[in-house]
């Protein structure tokens, strides 16, 4: 590229004989007990768009952060243009021609576009010459790749698509030959995504290499030349995109799991306990995540919400449980509309007879520095059974905790132990015991078996069934397909903030569900704007 900045000159030259722009060999990375990348191999051909697909938590972002020098791999080798390199920090990666567009943009929001472009790549101590050069460079880049941006706009005032173009320009300005895009369409409108794909095609035509990370299969089919599938920290397979189809990819991504045997009779649905009407929810960044959802759950049935993680399930759970106020719509529990006024909506819903097992027990379901018995009353501390007046009846709370420890087989059986010292499965049982072992009408369960060992999974499943048979209305959200299939009496598939299908578990094989979850068989909507290749 004629206009590349000087940083370009430091790139190793003469190694262009390899057909691979990037090769990763035997990469391992752990965070504490979590093995995020297990012995990963990946080869990316120069001048292609290579997709990496997998569910949230599959280890895609970790792998790319290692390539970009943000994390250091525990073991494994990286080759760039056939040369072995050791990437110690982002600056080094940039020098090697690797640029990254992060999932959460690395932009300074109150800076102008131009200031963001030059940050860290300034030519000299004074800004004026750098800004002038960047302005000229942007004009060229805009022409070459349809990357139009307004150089003087303040980033927080422009659209998300615009911000993303700034991120791509940042990388190109630094002379990136390999561009990594981490979930680039997650925050884009369909039209913006379409625009992005045109840009990527032009970049490929100019010989750039693109690594495209996503969990959306349609995008893989639309834009990539080859695709690698990751699952639970492992690289499952790499295929040419032309030789595969969404159904196969969905299966590889979700995995064929042993269907656990859950003994379950027919459901006996009673009257409606939970009604959700036209619910619209925004996330913290102001992006609409739930786009007008309607459903109901009756007493004595389990309604499962299936979907690839990140399609609005978390936001749906938070709104239905009263933790965040929806933008629009109603939640009706046992015929009563819930008020979202104030910041204690979750407390009102509990009083209305709703219990909630949250998706992320460590972040919100537990206070890990508390003793077990204290978490056993979290959210119910105002209950009369824990003391009539202002004071807390600690012996009563501990006795109840001990009883639950026995009933739910929580180990070690010590209600005075710090919660952080229990294993994941036992922590989950603490939460389940607290939420299930009481008078309730509606139970909301998010990812009940995430990070839980097999033995505990069976136990947790049988408890959920028992609750159903006791006439409770249960809403189950899980990304584990087999869990949804074996527990649910009705399955709703969530995709891109909408419930796109209702499926009877009896006719729902994994393949059909996988297609729905990939958004493939969704009825035609505006989000179909993404064109096939």
């Amino acid at each position: 590229m004629a206009n590349s900045p000087p940083a370009n000159d430091q790139r190793p030259s003469g190694a262009a004989d390899s057909e691979y722009a990037v090769e990763l060999v035997g990469i391992n990375k752990s965070f504490g007990a979590v093995h995020a990348n297990k012995n990963i191999d990946l080869k990316v051909k120069r001048g292609t768009v290579h997709g990496i697909v997998g569910e949230n938590g599959a280890g895609k972002s970790t792998l790319m952060s290692i390539l970009y020098g943000f994390y250091t791999a525990d073991s494994g080798d990286i080759f760039v243009n056939g040369e072995k390199v050791s990437i110690t920090d982002s600056r080094h990666a940039l020098r090697l021609g690797i640029g990254m567009v992060h999932q959460h943009f690395m932009l300074v929001e109150n800076f102008t576009v131009l200031e963001n472009i030059i940050l860290g790549a300034e030519d000299s101590a004074l800004l004026t010459p750098s800004l002038a050069r960047a302005r000229a460079e942007l004009a060229t880049l805009a022409k070459d790749y349809s990357l139009e941006v307004d150089p003087d706009a303040v980033v927080e005032e422009v659209s998300v698509g615009h911000q993303q173009r700034v991120e791509i320009l940042k990388a190109l300005y630094r002379g990136a030959e390999v561009l990594v895009l981490d979930e680039p369409t997650g925050v884009l409108t369909p039209a913006e995504a379409d625009h992005l794909f045109r840009i990527l095609e032009q970049l490929r035509e100019q010989g750039k290499t693109i690594i495209f990370i996503t969990h959306k299969l349609r995008e893989i089919m639309a834009i990539t030349d080859s695709v690698s599938v990751m699952r639970q920290g492992e690289m499952v397979r790499t295929l040419a995109t032309a030789d595969t189809d969404p159904a196969e990819l969905a299966e590889l991504m979700v995995g064929r799991r042993v269907l656990l045997q859950v003994k379950k009779g027919a459901a006996n649905p009673g009257e409606t306990r939970l009604e959700v009407r036209d619910l619209v929810v925004k996330d913290e960044m102001g992006v609409v995540r739930v786009k007008g959802v309607n459903f109901e759950v009756k007493a004595g049935e389990i309604v499962g919400i299936a979907g690839v993680a990140g399609n609005g399930q978390s936001e749906l759970l938070e709104a239905v449980s009263g933790m965040t106020a929806p933008v629009l719509g109603d939640v009706i529990v046992s015929g009563k509309r819930v008020s979202f006024h104030g910041d204690d909506g979750a407390g009102r819903l509990r009083k209305a007879g709703m219990a909630h097992v949250p998706e992320d027990r460590q972040r919100m379901g537990l206070v890990t520095s508390y003793e077990e018995w204290e978490n056993s009353i979290l959210g119910y501390e105002s209950d009369k059974r824990y003391g009539a007046g202002l004071s807390l009846d600690i012996p009563a709370a501990r006795n109840e905790a001990r009883r639950r420890i026995e009933k739910f087989d929580i180990r070690p059986a010590d209600c005075r132990l710090k919660t952080a010292k229990f294993s994941g499965g036992n922590q989950q049982k603490i939460v389940l015991a607290r939420e299930m072992d009481r008078e309730l009408e509606v139970l909301i369960v998010g990812q009940p078996t995430r990070g839980v060992d097999i033995g505990a999974i069976e136990f947790i499943h049988s408890q959920i069934i028992a609750m159903r048979d006791a006439g409770k209305a249960i809403l189950l959200v899980s990304v584990e397909l087999d869990e949804i299939r074996s527990l649910s009496d009705r399955i709703l598939v969530m995709f891109d903030g909408n419930l796109i299908a209702e499926v009877d578990p009896a006719d729902a094989d994994e393949r059909t569900l996988g297609l729905y979850m990939a958004g493939v068989e969704e009825p035609a909507t505006e989000s179909d704007a993404v064109a096939a290749p």
């Binding site: 965070f31 504490g32 007990a33 992060h102 981490d182 933790m323 004071s391």
Partner: protein, 383 residues
């Protein structure tokens, strides 16, 4: 941050704070040395001044009474994750309770005690609840607002004492309490305390220690306060209203701060004078951090600082070149080491304990530290 070695409880709870405090004293000793005096002699004089005789004890306990109130005020707010730097101002405004005391000082000291206690707590609570409200509802940072409220309190009280409640003939103090209304001093029953000012308010301090302990660990409100302080997400999940907990906690914190007025203004000075708090509110910050925001710790730290204040004056008398403000240096270092650098000795201690016990005691299944990415590194780039 890689997985942390689990240090034994006594190390994190007792040894680390002790080392931090010890370091503060060592540096204080170096200052004495730099002045050209013997640190060992200084500490001897200091300890004797504080505990060597009855009157010293009395002064130590009197100062400690103030520090129990201000230390508890900071500690209680800290349990909810709030840093109340405004204890000084809350105590100052609460001083106006003395004016209420003047109204009833012809009746009996017990009436004065009850009246001033209630008024002082109410005034302190109001002065603290406003920053609490602004934090909870308007998002104004509580540290900055409480600092501002200290200065506003100073100006307000200066106006009150010069323009509104000043005694005829004086410009910056109120009338003095009538003899009938004065709080009993301990020396009236126990000559052991010499001429020291320790008075019956000390029993209120003991009650406050027990009360705060009970509140934090034995009431539903305390449970909620701690949930908010430990994990605000869990509070939202549990349906605990952060807005009301913040306002209530700040009000209670301010009420504790207000008790300084009863001990110092009503109990000792018997009138309200400009700037009567004299920094006791700020000492509360050191006391709370050193005491790890636990009432037992606060009691020990308050006694230590009480001894330092009393011993420091004695030290200045015996060693004129060592100012009693040496105590302020130690106070600063205690805040620095136990508050801002509290983990200073952790790496060294961890190395020490790993070497001492080659296979670290296996916990049931050590959970990852709280601030580590959950599930995997998916969210990693933002960390």
């Amino acid at each position: 941050m890689s997985a942390r070695t689990e240090l034994p409880r006594w190390v994190t709870l007792a040894l680390m704070p002790a080392l931090n405090v010890a370091l503060a004293f060592v540096i204080g000793g170096l200052v004495v040395l730099a002045i050209g005096e013997s640190p060992l002699e200084a500490i001897q004089i200091l300890m004797f001044g504080a505990f060597g005789y009855g009157e010293g004890w009395g002064f130590t306990l009197h100062f400690a009474t103030n520090f129990v109130f201000t230390g508890l005020a900071v500690a209680l707010a800290y349990q909810a994750g709030l840093f109340n730097i405004g204890v000084e101002g809350q105590a100052y405004v609460a001083g106006l309770a003395l004016v209420a005391g003047l109204a009833v000082d012809q009746i009996h000291w017990s009436v004065v005690l009850i009246t001033t206690t209630l008024v002082a707590m109410a005034l302190g609570a109001i002065w603290a609840a406003i920053p609490g409200y602004l934090q909870a509802k308007r998002g104004s940072h509580i540290v900055i607002t409480t600092i501002m409220f200290n200065f506003i309190a100073a100006a307000f009280m200066s106006y009150m004492l010069t323009q509104v409640f000043s005694r005829p003939g004086a410009n910056s103090e109120t009338e003095t309490l009538d003899a009938i209304g004065r709080l009993p001093l301990l020396r009236e029953f126990m000559p052991f305390f010499g001429r020291s000012p320790v008075n019956i308010t000390i029993f209120l301090a003991i009650a406050a220690l027990i009360g705060v302990y009970y509140l934090i660990w034995h009431t539903k409100l305390g449970f909620k306060i701690r949930v908010l302080g430990q994990n605000p997400n869990a509070a939202r999940y549990a349906g605990i209203s952060a807005v009301s907990i913040i306002i209530i906690t700040m009000a209670l914190s301010g009420a504790l701060a207000g008790m300084v007025a009863v001990n110092e203004a009503v109990g000792v000075q018997k009138r309200l004078i400009i700037g009567y708090v004299g920094g006791y509110g700020f000492v509360g910050i050191a006391v709370a951090f050193m005491g790890r925001s636990h009432p037992v710790g606060v009691l020990l730290a308050a006694l230590l600082f009480g001894a330092l204040f009393q011993g420091g004056q004695e030290l200045n008398f015996e060693m004129p070149s060592v100012s009693s403000d040496l105590v302020v240096i130690i106070q600063a270092l205690v805040i620095l080491f136990t508050g801002a650098m509290s983990e200073m000795f952790r790496p060294a201690l961890e190395r020490l304990f790993i070497r001492a016990k080659p296979p670290p005691e296996k916990a049931v299944a050590p959970a990852p530290p709280a601030n580590q990415p959950k599930s995997s590194g998916e969210q990693g780039s933002g960390q």
